[in-house]
Point group: C3
Chain length 439, copies 3
Amino acid sequence: QYNTPEVDKLYQDDAVWIITSSFIIFTMHSGFGLLESGSVSAKDEVNIMVKNVVDVVFGGLSYWSVGYGLSYGDYEPICNWFIGFGRFFYDPTRDQMNVNEEGWSYAAFLFELSLATTASTIVSGAVAERAKLKSYILLGCLVILIQALPAHWVWDKRGFFYKLGVVDFAGCSAVHMVGGIIGLIATVYLKPRRKRFDEDSVHQMSSPTNALLGTFLLWWGWFGINAGSVWGITGGRWRLGARAAVATIMSSIGGGATSIVISFYKTKKLQVNLLINGILSSIVSITALCAVSRPWHALIIGSVSAAFSISVLPLLDRWQIDDPVGVVPIHLTSSIWGMIAVGIFCERDKSIASATNDNAGLLYSWSFNLLGIQLLCTLTILVYSATMGLLVLFCISKSPLGLRVTDYEEQIGADVIEHGLAGTNVARYVVEKPLSTRT
Amino acid sequence: QYNTPEVDKLYQDDAVWIITSSFIIFTMHSGFGLLESGSVSAKDEVNIMVKNVVDVVFGGLSYWSVGYGLSYGDYEPICNWFIGFGRFFYDPTRDQMNVNEEGWSYAAFLFELSLATTASTIVSGAVAERAKLKSYILLGCLVILIQALPAHWVWDKRGFFYKLGVVDFAGCSAVHMVGGIIGLIATVYLKPRRKRFDEDSVHQMSSPTNALLGTFLLWWGWFGINAGSVWGITGGRWRLGARAAVATIMSSIGGGATSIVISFYKTKKLQVNLLINGILSSIVSITALCAVSRPWHALIIGSVSAAFSISVLPLLDRWQIDDPVGVVPIHLTSSIWGMIAVGIFCERDKSIASATNDNAGLLYSWSFNLLGIQLLCTLTILVYSATMGLLVLFCISKSPLGLRVTDYEEQIGADVIEHGLAGTNVARYVVEKPLSTRT
Amino acid sequence: QYNTPEVDKLYQDDAVWIITSSFIIFTMHSGFGLLESGSVSAKDEVNIMVKNVVDVVFGGLSYWSVGYGLSYGDYEPICNWFIGFGRFFYDPTRDQMNVNEEGWSYAAFLFELSLATTASTIVSGAVAERAKLKSYILLGCLVILIQALPAHWVWDKRGFFYKLGVVDFAGCSAVHMVGGIIGLIATVYLKPRRKRFDEDSVHQMSSPTNALLGTFLLWWGWFGINAGSVWGITGGRWRLGARAAVATIMSSIGGGATSIVISFYKTKKLQVNLLINGILSSIVSITALCAVSRPWHALIIGSVSAAFSISVLPLLDRWQIDDPVGVVPIHLTSSIWGMIAVGIFCERDKSIASATNDNAGLLYSWSFNLLGIQLLCTLTILVYSATMGLLVLFCISKSPLGLRVTDYEEQIGADVIEHGLAGTNVARYVVEKPLSTRT
């Protein structure tokens, strides 16, 4: 039942790393909340913060009871390369006899939970200002379950992409791509906000300051995801954590600089939303490769991701796809590019070859093998998530709950309708009127 | 003077854990400040942020000079089961010769300081919008000293509840119950805010967004308190830290879900203040048991705590007790329930029996022993803190300082009166008028 | 190529410490952003947040490509006591063969980068509300390069102040003094904001709440700088980290208490800006000595620093120096005092004599030696940074870019001019008018 002091020490050091990383990752909910709250119009500002709270609460409940088991359940007769089974209503003390394994199970669950709850949060941005609160709660719980399978495929040792040797350290495909594509499907399904594409409509941000503060919080929180995703520090893995952290900041430097240059070039001004899209999309794009990325890899990958992000915006406008807080540029295009970038820039680690499953990308192996695996994984997850997302949205919208608020409710705003918040918020309507009457 | 490398390593690893936890705990002051600032009316928004700064400054001064010594002083001729003595104006370099002990003393002082300053902060919420600033400063310093004794009883190895075998890992009784009961006494003593219980009074929140952001910050900061309270990671204690962290998030999931369901059921809306009360009260309730709690324990304890919290609100209203930021539901009812819950759910740890002083609760031992100890501790601390709080409030209110602001000052607001802040704040009055003229 | 497990462990433990510290330090950009954004008038609130983003993006680019090499480059034929050379466009994987050294290089670069980007941020406050955005971007990049040399002198093992035995643990001279003096030069060079010193001008803060929240964030972030600056935890250095953390909080207690007492004494009110100046300046003043400071040293040093800070404010007013967010009191006076304080209070560490280069201050050695070194370093850095800052400002202002916005642009505000942000911000103008029409 007990292990040697040396083994105890390995468990201790690795567990402390992922526990601390989880703490950091949870702070990202503050960031998501503020970014979304500051980006929507003032009448829905509080509602979107509440939705971010709900993501942790009901998303967490959904993950603890079922989702975690679908990803990492180990009940041998059932679990396979496609799906996990077991560990439902997870209770590590029950499931593990060895004390080190018990402790590790708690730490690992905490880390996975912190990561999973961010996936449903992504969708909250896409449906902002027009999804009913109760329907959103249900949607969030189901997104957690949809996301559980890609996590199994990519990260569980039984998963088929894991066995194929896919490289995705920190959730580029299994978190951001899933959230991004479901977000896109949801925003198309829900249709745009009222008068969003009218000729003289005005785009309102309730608070650009809060949106930028949220961006900052996400930026720093991402160190927890990327550095934490090396799953420990022993056996020299701390070095991969350090590399992941440097890659995170370098990619954001690339993405930020690119978006600033493009914004100045195209509009003569520094557009706040382009800046936010540029920075966050660049960090998403490096999540797949981060732990083995060189600084200049990250700089290039982040820059390209920001360029993609910004060029997708006019397309969304032309196709009248209303994406209130930039889910498509931040999570979708960048995660697709991030997965592809691995196939190009991935380099074998000089000491821990297993970090990249002994694979290398085009640039370092002149082989299209890894690129192919990455593309297959990307395509599979896109098709799977889109299908499941559409199915779930269809079912909810046809259920008695319904999906979209009425035109009247949308006009009044969710802060009043869903939360009964008058007071300061009522006052803000006066302020908004001279703007919105023109629309 | 020097120890072996092995012992050095133990000190190093444990100290780093509590130092890092302290850093996290200090961030909770941002959370308290924002939650309180967003929950009061706009005319006192800045004042309450300043009070949270003051808590660290003067509370810290009070703790360093006297409070820490009353809790953990080790001057043998005087200190006993009731009170500590020594270590006043604490200077570890002077008090410890051994370098490891010196370092550990610094780390331990930092951790205790971070915890103690949160106790006086709790009271700041209870007296919001009507206590004079100077009187509040004095009150804060004295609360720190009041709180020093329960900390001695529960956590110091000489303390009588410690010897009795009470289980309170992270300040359920010694921090939250002390703060909660003094807060209740203070808010009753101060009487409600003007026109608070008038027929057509309007409850204003200066910023629900900020209140929710503050809730988020507290939520993540609590990982530092609960995981840090295992006092290190060596000897397998990292496992208890991991369990404490999972218990923290699971209890908040339970509390959040419960409060959302109750809110929808009772009001058809998701009330923001019920959500905040539910989440924070559930985390308070798990502080006592966290390190040995299973996920489902935490889920139940948190859910019950949220239910208690929400059911106490109508009582406060009926008795015309004005509790501006929810000190009673968040800190008082939940800490009482949290201490009792230990007596029910506490399980012996399979490896570190001393974690629960070799005690187990009703469910795992069919003995009322631990429950009795928990109840005795609860009752003693309630009676002691209420008495001391009342004494202190009486003395301050009869002193030349006085306690409550004048009616005129309350109407104008502390931001102008105490801080001379016109400008944007003056502007906000215009905005508020259509609401407040009705009262 | 590989080291023994014992050496691996040392690398691992130290690297994890500075990586984690870097994560904390990066959060300070949120703090700087909010403090500055809340302190300026509402028309420039978003612009200053963007400038804080830009500091990380372009400042980071500048540091990665050139700055880091000037500080810590090790290309032997060129680098000397005055300047580093090499490591440009830094790529540790290329520059280090040994895996431990590679990992350490990533961690060290991350830490230095996090520190360096804060230096240019300081200047952003000084030029708030009147520097053109593009010019500011250029200025920020150049400040990073200016700052690279003092960092080399003080912290690189080849640097001449390092060899002289100067004591500056956490950037008192090499970060705050450089930023503070360039900020002073810049604000004088740019001239005051329009109507700032008119008879009936009104000082506006867009949001005192945000300014205080920013102060909080900086306060906690500073634990990362001060504790992280012991560069690891092995060999008993964790003890110095614990001391640095306690010194940080004790100095802020001293500075906060002093500024509150002065504010009450002089104005009968607790002025928010005096409180902010007092707390932040006291933490700056302890950065030099933190790791070997006793609690009472920190308390005194912080108190004196706050007193200096507050007494410099009337002088700035008399000389009509417009310092929008308090760069002079927070970073300049306090860093000068902090360097001098080392010469007075520095004590030899009982175990790690090299921590203070075996030097002690006046109080513990009755020798003026260390004080002399500190003064020489202070003077050199002041003269160098002022000269370089002036040169850079002159070049930018004479370039086609220009430096200061037009009177019209300043009146409209950077949020509209540089970022095209109307919407809620336009609304705020209505609110401000009754105030600003008087000026």
